[in-house]
C-alpha cells in the first residue's frame, strides 16, 4: 500500500527550509514581542505546530489529484466565508477582515490566496489549450473577480491586487498569446488614471511616498523611512539580538507582522538578512523544481501557483520594507505573526510536497484520453 518511492520523492530540502523559516520567525517574534509588550511568540508557536501537523497530514493522507474535483467546493466555501465577513466580520483598525471563531480569529482573505491557486489550477487543467487568447480567459477572470471584489470591499487593496498577481502568474504558465499580452498591458496603463480616482487618500499617499520618499517624513512615508533606517543601521553584523533600537523604541510600526523583516535585518545585519533570503531562495527554488518536474498538467499548475504565491509575498513584503515598493500590507510567509497566514503558507507547502511526492505515480502506463 505505502510506496517506498513516496519517501524517495519527498522533498526534504523544502521541508528543511520551512523548518528554518519557522525557527527564524519564532526567534524574531521573541524580540518583536519584547518591543511591543505582547507575548506574540507563544501563540505563533501554536500556529506553527498546528500548521505542521496539518501540512504533514495533507502530504500523507490526501492525494492532491482529488482537488481536480473538490476545487469547486473549496472555492464556494471561500466565497461563503468572504461573504460572512461582510456581515459578521470583526473590524480591526478600520477594515473588516476577521471572522471570530472564539479561540482564534481567522482572516478569510489569507485563505482565499490558496483557494484561488487551487481553483485556477483546476480550471486550466480541465480547460486544456495550447494557447489562450483574451476570449478564452473571461471565465477564469470572472471566477477571480468575485473574491477580489469581496476583499477590496473590506477594504484590503493589497490582498485584492495580490489575487490579480496569482491570476497573472497562472496565465503565464498557461501561455498567453503575444497579442493578448500586449493588449492587456496597454489596457492596464490606460486604466491607471481611472484606478487612481478610486483609491483612498491614504492609498494614494503611499504611492506618492514611494515615488518621492522624502515628501513627508512624519506623514505616510514615516514608516518606510523608519524601516530603512532600521535595516541600514544593522550594518554587517547587526546590533545584536533584542538590541534593535528602532524596533524597541517603537519607531517601527507593526514589528510583529509587516515589518518583521526590518527588525531581523536591524538585529542580525546584512549577514542575517542574506541568510534569510537564502532560505527563501531554497524554498522557492524547490517549489519551482517540483512544478517543472511534474508529469501532468494539474500538478504543474498547482505547484507553480503555490510557489508563485509565496514568491510574490516575499517580493512584495521585503521590497516594501526596503523601500523598493509602495506600502502594502502583505505578510512575510512564516516570519510574520498571524495564524491565517501561517496556515495558508503551510497548506501551500503541503500541496507542493504532495505534488512532488506523488510524481512517481505517472512513470508508467499509457496516456489515457
Amino acid at each position: 500500500m505505502f510506496d517506498r518511492r513516496f519517501l524517495e520523492h519527498f522533498d526534504w530540502w523544502l521541508f528543511l527550509a520551512v523548518l528554518l523559516l519557522m525557527a527564524i520567525g519564532f526567534v524574531n517574534l521573541n524580540s518583536g514581542s519584547a518591543a511591543t509588550g505582547y507575548p506574540f511568540q507563544w501563540k505563533q508557536l501554536q500556529w506553527y505546530i498546528a500548521g505542521i501537523v496539518l501540512m504533514l497530514s495533507l502530504v500523507l493522507f490526501f492525494d492532491y489529484r482529488l482537488l481536480t474535483i473538490y476545487s469547486v467546493h473549496i472555492y464556494l466555501i471561500m466565497v461563503f466565508m468572504l461573504i460572512l465577513v461582510v456581515f459578521i466580520g470583526k473590524t480591526v483598525g478600520g477594515s473588516q477582515r476577521w471572522l471570530s471563531l472564539g479561540f482564534m480569529n481567522i482572516q478569510p482573505s489569507e485563505l482565499a490566496k490558496i483557494a484561488t491557486v487551487i481553483i485556477l489550477s483546476s480550471y486550466f487543467y480541465h480547460d486544456d489549450r495550447p494557447q489562450y487568447g483574451l476570449t478564452d480567459l473571461w471565465r477564469p477572470f470572472l471566477l477571480m473577480l468575485v473574491p477580489i471584489f469581496l476583499i477590496y470591499h473590506q477594504p484590503d487593496l493589497g490582498t485584492a491586487l495580490f489575487l490579480v498577481l496569482i491570476f497573472a502568474s497562472l496565465v503565464y504558465m498557461a501561455r498567453l498569446q503575444w497579442t493578448s499580452f500586449l493588449l492587456l498591458l496597454g489596457t492596464a496603463i490606460a486604466a491607471f488614471p481611472v484606478v487612481w480616482e478610486f483609491l483612498k487618500p491614504y492609498q494614494r499617499g503611499r504611492i506618492m511616498d514611494f515615488i518621492s520618499p522624502g515628501r513627508d517624513p512624519l506623514g505616510a512615508g514615516y514608516h518606510i523611512s523608519q524601516s530603512k533606517i532600521a535595516i541600514g543601521s544593522g550594518q554587517i553584523l547587526g546590533k545584536g539580538y533584542m538590541k534593535g533600537s528602532q524596533a524597541h523604541l517603537n519607531f517601527l510600526p507593526e514589528v510583529h507582522t509587516d515589518f518583521a523583516f526590518s527588525i531581523w535585518a536591524e538585529e542580525w545585519g546584512w549577514v542575517g538578512a542574506v541568510i534569510l533570503l537564502g532560505i527563501f531562495f531554497l524554498m522557492l527554488y524547490r517549489g519551482f523544481l517540483i512544478a517543472s518536474q511534474s508529469k501532468e498538467r494539474f500538478g504543474a499548475f498547482l505547484a507553480f501557483g503555490v510557489t508563485a504565491m509565496l514568491f510574490w509575498q516575499v517580493v512584495i513584503n521585503i521590497g516594501m520594507v526596503m523601500g523598493l515598493m509602495p506600502v502594502v500590507g502583505i505578510p512575510l510567509p512564516l516570519v510574520s505573526y498571524g495564524g491565517s497566514s501561517v496556515f495558508t503558507t503551510l497548506i501551500g507547502v503541503g500541496l507542493l510536497l504532495n505534488v512532488g511526492s506523488r510524481r512517481f505515480m505517472f512513470q508508467k502506463g499509457p496516456r489515457p484520453r
Binding site: I236, S292, E296, R297, M322
Partner: protein, 635 residues
C-alpha cells in the same frame, strides 16, 4: 462517486512537447526569482554597508520621542460637592538603563540620596529586567520634596536618571470610604495583555476596586501625545506636534461626607460593616467596612508586612464587608418571618403562643434566648422582645418553602444589583439544595432555626439595608445607588443616575403597618431589645439581631469566650418612624449582643444625620411624644 475517484487517478499526463514547455517556463520563473533575490541582496548591501554608517548615525540621532501627556484624573465628590478624592502631582524618580553606563557607580551615588540601600534599589530594577533597555523604570514612586531637591541638584552627575510627574490621588479629608472609592495601583500584566483599558501601558496607575475600578474609563480621561525631536543625549531639539489630553470626568457620589465620617468613627473599634441609605430613593448615604485601609499606601508601593496586614484573615481589611461578607441574619430575619406569617394568614396581630423558654420538636428541645421565657406572646411582643419560641411556631406552620419564597421576595439570596464588582448574593437554603449537597433530606429542626435567622441562611449588610428601607418606605425594594451624577471637566452633566425601584414587597399595607409598629416598639418599649438606640426627640424603629457563630454547647459567658467564637451583633433601623429619612444596617463581628453593641452605633449615625438636617436646636415639626399608636396616621 466511486467512478469519479477511479478516473481522477488517471489524470492526463504531459506529452513530450508539453513537458519541455513546462520545464522552460519554470526555468524562466526560477531565473526571475533568482534575479529578485540578488536585487534584494544588492539593495541590502547598499542600505547596510554602503549607507550603513549614515543610517546607524541616524538611528542614534533620530530620536523622535513620543511623550504621553497624562490627563488629570476625574475627581470624586460627595453629594454636596465636597472633594473626597482629588488629584495631586506625584514625582517619580526614573532610570533608563541604556543611558546609565556604570550601574555600580550610579547605585552607590543614588543610595544615600534616596535613603535606600543599593540592594533595595536593585529590587526595583530587577522586577522589570526583561523589558527593553530603553524603557524607563520607576525606582522611587512619590518621592518627597527633600529627596527630589537632593536629586534634582545632582542630576548632571547621575546619567540616565530623570524625574517624571504623574497624577496621583489626594484625599483632602483623609481616607473616606476606601472600600467604595477604591484605590489606584499599577496596572497588572493581565490587564495589559487583555487590553482591558484602552491606551494603558505598563507602569500606569489604574483603579483597582470600587468606584475607581468601575469607572476607570470615565475617570482616566484620554491620554494626549507630544512628539519631540531629541538628540542622542535626550536633549530636546523641538516639539513636532501635540495632541492635548482630555481630562477625566468627575463623579458625584450619593455619599454624605459628614455622615460617612461619623459612621466610620462609630465603627472604628469594631470589625464589621455599616450601610446608611435613603429609604425613599435607595441612595446610599454612608458605606463603611471596618477596618479601613489607606488608599494612598498603594500609590507609593507597599512592603511585604503591610501587605500581610491588609490580608489578615481575621479582620480582612481589603474586603468590602457591606456587600462581599455574608452573615447569618439572626433575629433581624424575624421581620421577614412576621411579614410572611401575617400575609399568609397564619397569625393575626392578636394570635399568641406561650413561651416557656423551651420548645419541643420530636425528641429535641429548642431554646428561647431568654431562659425565663416570655409567657403569653403575641406578634408585637415577640418582635419587641425578640422571642424565639413564637417564631419557631410560625416557622413550623409556614414551612421552609414559604419562608424561602418570602426571603427571596425581600431581596435576600440574590444580588441587590449595586453597580460594583464582586457582590455576594448571600444564601437562602432549600430542601432541594440540601439534598443535592449533603444527600440528606431537610429536617424540621432546620426549618426552626431558619425561622430565627440561623442555620444556612446568609445575607450581606447591604441586603439588610435594602430590606429595612423597603419596610420603611411602604414596600418598595430599591436597587441601591451610590452615584448622583457624572460631569464633564467644564461642569456640564454627562450622565445623572436615577434611583432604581426594583420590586414591590408582596405584603399588604396593613400588614406592613403592624410590622412597623412592632419595630418602633422594639426600640422604644420598656423591655425592648434595641432600647439603646432610643432617642429623645426622634422616633426610631429597628430590630436587633445576635448571630451565633458556634453552637449552644460552646457558648457560655460571652466575655470569657475566645474572640472568634463570640456572636455577631446586628441592628437594622430607620428613623423618623413616621416619615423615614434614613435607614441603617449595622453589623459588628464577634462583639456579642446586637442590642448592646450595634444599636449604639446606629444611634450615633442617626444623631449625626438629624444634626446635619437641622443643626439648630429647633423642634422638628413631627416631633412625637412616645405613643406608638400615633404613627399609623402618618405613614
Amino acid at each position: 462517486m466511486k467512478f469519479k475517484v477511479k478516473t481522477i487517478w488517471r489524470v492526463k499526463r504531459f506529452d513530450q512537447l508539453d513537458q519541455e514547455a513546462n520545464k522552460w517556463r519554470c526555468d524562466v520563473a526560477i531565473l526571475i526569482m533568482f534575479l529578485c533575490i540578488v536585487t534584494f541582496c544588492a539593495r541590502l548591501w547598499h542600505l547596510q554597508i554602503v549607507q550603513g554608517e549614515h543610517f546607524r548615525e541616524q538611528s542614534e540621532r533620530n530620536r523622535i520621542r513620543s511623550v504621553r501627556l497624562q490627563p488629570p484624573r476625574g475627581k470624586i465628590l460627595d453629594r454636596t460637592g465636597r472633594l473626597l478624592a482629588g488629584v495631586k502631582p506625584c514625582f517619580n524618580v526614573c532610570l533608563v538603563r541604556e543611558d546609565v553606563g556604570d550601574m555600580e557607580a550610579l547605585l552607590a551615588k543614588l543610595s544615600p540620596l534616596l535613603g535606600e540601600t543599593e540592594a533595595e534599589i536593585r529590587t526595583h530594577l530587577g522586577s522589570e529586567h526583561k523589558g527593553p533597555k530603553y524603557a524607563p523604570i520607576v525606582i522611587k514612586r512619590g518621592a518627597d520634596w527633600e529627596t527630589l531637591s537632593r536629586i534634582e541638584s545632582r542630576l548632571f552627575s547621575l546619567p540616565g536618571v530623570f524625574i517624571e510627574v504623574t497624577p496621583a490621588r489626594k484625599y483632602p479629608y483623609g481616607s473616606i470610604a476606601p472600600h467604595l472609592l477604591g484605590y489606584l495601583g499599577e496596572i497588572s500584566r493581565e490587564d495589559i495583555v487583555k487590553k482591558r483599558y484602552t491606551g494603558a501601558r505598563s507602569g500606569d496607575m489604574v483603579g483597582k476596586c470600587g468606584v475607581e475600578e468601575r469607572f476607570e474609563n470615565d475617570l482616566a480621561g484620554i491620554k494626549g501625545q507630544r512628539r519631540l525631536e531629541v538628540d542622542a543625549g535626550g536633549r530636546l531639539i523641538r516639539v513636532i506636534d501635540e495632541k492635548p489630553p482630555v481630562p477625566g470626568k468627575d463623579l458625584y457620589l450619593s455619599i454624605d461626607l459628614d455622615l460617612q465620617q461619623a459612621s466610620e468613627e462609630a465603627m472604628k473599634e469594631y470589625v464589621g460593616a455599616l450601610v446608611a441609605m435613603d429609604p425613599q430613593t435607595g441612595r446610599i448615604l454612608a458605606l463603611v467596612s471596618s477596618p479601613a485601609f489607606d488608599p494612598e499606601a498603594f500609590a507609593t508601593g507597599i512592603n511585604n508586612e503591610e501587605w500581610k496586614a491588609l490580608n489578615d484573615p481575621v479582620s480582612r481589611p481589603l474586603q468590602n464587608k457591606t456587600l462581599q461578607a455574608r452573615y447569618a441574619p439572626a433575629s433581624t430575619f424575624k421581620i421577614v418571618m412576621a411579614a410572611a406569617a401575617l400575609q399568609e394568614g397564619i397569625v393575626t396581630k392578636n394570635t399568641s403562643f406561650k413561651c416557656t423558654s423551651q420548645f419541643r420538636l420530636g425528641r429535641s428541645f429548642f431554646r428561647c434566648w431568654d431562659w425565663r421565657g416570655h409567657g403569653q406572646t403575641n406578634l408585637y411582643k415577640a418582635m419587641v422582645e425578640s422571642c424565639d419560641i413564637y417564631f419557631y411556631q410560625v416557622g413550623l406552620m409556614l414551612g421552609i418553602e414559604k419562608i424561602e419564597k418570602y426571603a427571596n421576595a425581600f431581596g435576600l439570596g440574590s444580588k441587590t444589583g449595586i453597580d460594583l464588582p464582586n457582590e455576594s448574593r448571600g444564601f437562602i437554603a432549600t430542601p432541594d439544595w440540601k439534598l443535592g449537597r449533603y444527600q440528606e433530606p431537610w429536617q424540621e429542626g432546620e426549618t426552626l432555626i431558619t425561622a430565627i435567622g440561623q442555620g444556612f441562611t446568609l445575607v450581606t449588610p447591604l441586603q439588610m439595608a435594602c430590606l429595612t428601607s423597603a419596610v420603611a418606605n411602604g414596600g418598595t425594594l430599591y436597587c441601591p445607588v451610590y452615584l448622583e451624577k457624572m460631569t464633564g471637566p467644564d461642569g456640564h452633566i454627562v450622565k445623572s443616575f436615577e434611583s432604581i425601584p426594583k420590586d414591590k414587597l408582596p405584603i399588604s399595607k396593613s400588614n406592613l403597618r403592624i410590622i412597623r409598629k412592632a419595630l418602633v416598639g422594639a426600640v422604644n418599649d420598656k423591655k425592648a431589645t434595641g432600647k439603646q438606640c432610643k432617642m429623645p426627640d426622634i422616633l426610631v424603629a429597628g430590630k436587633t439581631g445576635t448571630a451565633q457563630v458556634v453552637g449552644q454547647a460552646k457558648r457560655r459567658q460571652d466575655q470569657k469566650l475566645d474572640w472568634k467564637y463570640r456572636d455577631h451583633a446586628w441592628f437594622v433601623a430607620y428613623a423618623p418612624a413616621e416619615k423615614p429619612e434614613l435607614a441603617v444596617a449595622v453589623l459588628c463581628e464577634h462583639t456579642g449582643h446586637g442590642g448592646s453593641v450595634a444599636a449604639p452605633v446606629a444611634r450615633k449615625v442617626f444623631e449625626t444625620w438629624f444634626q446635619i438636617q437641622s443643626p439648630l436646636p429647633v423642634l422638628r415639626p413631627h416631633k412625637t411624644a412616645f405613643n406608638v399608636n400615633n404613627i399609623d396616621d402618618h405613614v
